[in-house]
Every structure is written in structure tokens, then in C-alpha cells.
């Protein structure tokens, strides 16, 4: 794993140099801001969209940057307005990291062709699976399986009423919500990435 990462780092040295540069560091608080603004825009829609900034940081700058943005977004929420946000930092960090690794592997490209749409779809399913696997144990141990969005809790209640145990019911509800959330959010992230003028990215990769 580490060898593979090392090999990857050597094949794309410019990418990783950006990540630990002062520019990369200066991008982190701005991406935290995009995460927060995006989840605020999503109020009233069925999704969370609170990982948009982590995904963009992962795609544009790099996986480690996405990871740091993910963790710090939740630490920021914890210090400011949500005392219970801290454990979910792992979920957000994993999303940023995976989006970044996929971009590093060349799976996220600036083109709107059918294969790219298929790849984007595939990555968002991977993201949804990972988010479900990490957040279900957290949801069950902290909130008894609820998530805080009314429609997800309704699905959860329906599964429980159908005689399911707490953990599988919570996991199923979480997966249904995560797959909607991650597909929509990752498509938005990819669309934004295709629309950022190439010039910006070129200066970034110098």
C-alpha cells in the first residue's frame, strides 16, 4: 500500500508538491468555507452536500488536502455551532481522501464524455459505500441509528417496523440516503471541476 502510494507520488510529483505548499495550505480554510456554505445551501433539499468542499479539494489539489479539509470542517463545526460534529470527521475525511486518490489515478477528467460520466458514477457509488460503512456504526452507537434528516429517519422507522434489527435497518437507511447524497454531490463536484478554466489548473500544476 505504502509502496504503491510512493510510486504514485513519484509518477506525479507536481501534484504532491502542490499539496504541501503554502498555496495548498492556504486553500484549506477556503474549502472548509465551501463545505459549510454548501451544506447551508442544501437546507430544504433531501441531501446534506456537506462534503462538496472536501471532494473539490481532493480533486483539484490532492488526497491529503481533501483529508485535512474533511477533518478540519468537522472540528470547525464542533468549535462553532455543533458540539456533536466531531466523530463524523472520519467520514468527511475519507470522502476527501478517496476523491483525491481517484483524481490522482486519472479517473476524474475534465471532459464530458460518456465513459467519464460512467467513471464519475462509479466513484460516487464507492464514496457512498465507504460513507455508509463508516457512519453506520457511529449512528448506531451515538444516536441509536437515527441520522437527523426526517426522510432518512422515516425509512429507518419503516425498516424497524418491518421487523429488522437496529443495525441492518440503520445501515439500509443510511445507504439509501448516502447513495443519493454522494451521487448528487460528486456529480456537482465533477461538473464544477470541468467548468473551472483550464488556465487555473495549469498554473496550479506548474
Amino acid at each position: 500500500m505504502t509502496l504503491w502510494l510512493k510510486k504514485m507520488a513519484e509518477s506525479r510529483p507536481s501534484r504532491l508538491r502542490i499539496e504541501f505548499s503554502t498555496f495548498g495550505i492556504a486553500m484549506i480554510p477556503l474549502m472548509i468555507g465551501i463545505n459549510i456554505v454548501s451544506s447551508y445551501l442544501a437546507s430544504g433539499t433531501p441531501i446534506w452536500a456537506d462534503t462538496l468542499g472536501s471532494m473539490l479539494a481532493g480533486i483539484i489539489i490532492g488526497p491529503i488536502n481533501g483529508l485535512v479539509v474533511g477533518i478540519l470542517t468537522n472540528v470547525f463545526k464542533w468549535i462553532t455551532f455543533d458540539p456533536f460534529a466531531l466523530p463524523y470527521a472520519i467520514v468527511n475525511a475519507a470522502i476527501g481522501l478517496i476523491a483525491g486518490i481517484c483524481a490522482l489515478l486519472g479517473l476524474v477528467r475534465k471532459e464530458t464524455t460518456a465513459p467519464q460520466v460512467a467513471r464519475t458514477f462509479g466513484i460516487s457509488i464507492v464514496l457512498a459505500v465507504v460513507a455508509t460503512l463508516i457512519s453506520t456504526p457511529l449512528n448506531v452507537s451515538l444516536w441509536g441509528g437515527s441520522t437527523g434528516k426526517v426522510w432518512v429517519d422515516a425509512i429507518f422507522a419503516a425498516f424497524m417496523a418491518g421487523g429488522w434489527q437496529v443495525f441492518p435497518a440503520s445501515m439500509a437507511a443510511e445507504f439509501i440516503s448516502d447513495i443519493t447524497d454522494k451521487i448528487i454531490t460528486f456529480f456537482i463536484a465533477w461538473l464544477i471541476y470541468t467548468r473551472v478554466p483550464l488556465q487555473f489548473i495549469k498554473t496550479l500544476r506548474r
Binding site: 430544504g44 433539499t45 441531501i47 429517519d153 424497524m160 487555473f200
Partner: protein, 267 residues
């Protein structure tokens, strides 16, 4: 949207403690709550944090803000667990002949609530009584690198800025004919791209400017940095740590030995 900090400035013994002390207090309080499943231990630990918040003169915002977040979340949890928890057997309150609240589910939800308050109460007390700058300084003393501490700290300044930029982007896009009000969910999701793209480009530009400003101030230099506000352990910190550890251990052991297990109220 402005960033409202949890921090409430007061002059109290809790506010003068080193943030690291409060971190240790939090861990001390959270461990018995995580390890034991007893509702009494959790409630005892939570009341301890309430007493500490009273010492810190922040009892009112502490209880009020926790309630404001907890209550809307816990009403559905009580409903779902009380009605549908598969462990539920004993009926408590009938709505119809087939839909009724069960004792086991309600107890499960109550234990969850108590545990959640006990685990996170200490952390909320920490952010409520600590200036974010002091928190950063102490984190750096524990060993958090500046490259992580700086982005978090500057986010307090940047998040309101991003938000005000979003407002100007909204107005600019509306003047170009983008419909942003009275629209359905799908339409609203489609507005993400025209709203966030300019924001992101602005962010890249801003990051360039900031990185130059940071470098001009020696951000990457290897010289040891000093802090404007220093945090340090005093004698009162050690007293506090000793006292809390003692109280938590005593409370937990007394509750575990005195109350028979499983306890008579089925909690």
C-alpha cells in the same frame, strides 16, 4: 450567516484553566460514559459537567444550547425507538391496538440520551470556556503542526467571507437571469454549479494572495514560533485534574457497587 462561536467570555476559574487541562477533564468524564452502559453513571458524569459549567458561570448557555440541539433530534429518536425497537415487549402507552410505545425501546432511547450528553458535554464545556486562539496554541504545544493549526484558525475569518461572496455571486447570477427563489428541489440542486464555480475560482485566487502574504511573514521558516497569548500549566490546573479524576472515579465506583445490576428500574 456570521460565524457564532461557542466561546462565551467570562472571568471564572474554568476560563483561566489551560485548555489541555479541560481536554483531560473531558477525557476523564467521557471514558466511564463510553465504557459503562449504566444510565446513572452517565447522568452523574453529565451533572458533574453542569456543576463545572456553573463554576465557569456558563451554566445557562451550556444547558440551553445543548437542549436546543438535542431536543429536536431526540423527539424522533424516542418515537422510533419507543414504537419500533425490536427489543420492545412491555406496552406502556397505546395509540392504537397494534401501535404502542414499549418500555424497552423508551429505556434504550433514554440511555442513549444520557450517554450522548455525558460523552459530548465535556467537549462542549471545553469550547464554551476556551478562546479559539488559546485552543490552537495549546494544540500546537501538544504537537499539532502549524500547517494544520493555521487553516483551522483562519477558517474563523474566512467562512464569513466566503458567505458574503456567495451573496454577491447570487445577486450577480440573478441579474443574469438565474432563477433562485420559489424553485423545486431539482432546480435548486442545479443552481449549485453556477453558484459554487465562481466561488471556487475566487477561492483559488484568494489562496494565491494568502500564500504570498503568509510567506512574507515566514510561514515555512523552520524557526520556532512564539505565541501572542501563551498558555501554561499552573498549580490550579493540577488541582483541578486531581479533583475531577477523584470525583469521577468515586462517583462511578459508588454507583456501580451500590446499585444492584441489573438495577431494579430496568434502566
Amino acid at each position: 450567516m456570521s460565524v457564532r462561536l461557542s466561546f462565551v467570555p467570562r472571568s471564572s476559574p474554568i476560563h483561566t484553566l489551560d485548555p489541555r487541562t479541560k481536554l483531560i477533564l473531558w477525557v476523564t468524564a467521557a471514558v466511564p460514559a463510553i465504557v459503562s452502559n449504566s444510565i446513572l453513571v452517565c447522568l452523574a458524569v453529565f451533572s458533574l459537567t453542569v456543576i463545572l459549567s456553573a463554576v465557569g458561570k456558563v451554566a445557562l448557555p451550556y444547558v440551553k444550547n445543548l437542549a436546543k440541539i438535542i431536543i429536536p433530534v431526540f423527539i424522533p429518536i424516542f418515537l422510533i425507538q419507543g414504537l419500533f425497537n425490536p427489543a420492545g415487549k412491555t406496552p406502556v402507552l397505546f395509540i392504537t391496538s397494534w401501535l404502542y410505545f414499549k418500555r424497552e425501546g423508551l429505556v434504550f432511547a433514554a440511555v442513549l440520551l444520557a450517554r450522548l450528553l455525558a460523552i459530548f458535554g465535556g467537549g462542549y464545556l471545553l469550547t464554551l470556556t476556551t478562546r479559539p486562539g488559546d485552543l490552537m496554541a495549546s494544540m500546537q504545544k501538544i504537537g499539532l503542526p502549524l500547517k494544520i493549526a493555521y487553516p483551522l484558525f483562519s477558517a474563523f475569518q474566512i467562512v464569513p467571507m466566503i458567505d458574503s461572496r456567495l451573496q454577491s455571486v447570487r445577486q450577480a447570477q440573478m441579474s443574469r437571469g438565474l432563477k433562485l427563489e420559489d424553485i423545486g428541489v431539482i432546480q435548486r440542486l442545479r443552481t449549485y454549479v453556477p453558484l459554487i464555480t465562481p466561488l471556487l475560482m475566487g477561492a483559488i485566487e484568494e489562496a494565491y494572495r494568502r500564500s504570498i502574504a503568509l510567506e512574507a511573514r515566514g510561514f515555512s521558516s523552520r524557526i520556532k514560533k512564539t505565541f501572542l497569548r501563551d498558555v501554561r500549566f499552573h498549580r490550579i490546573d493540577f488541582c483541578f485534574i486531581a479533583a475531577t479524576v477523584l470525583v469521577v472515579v468515586m462517583l462511578t465506583s459508588v454507583i456501580i457497587t451500590v446499585v444492584p445490576h441489573p438495577n431494579p428500574w430496568g434502566l
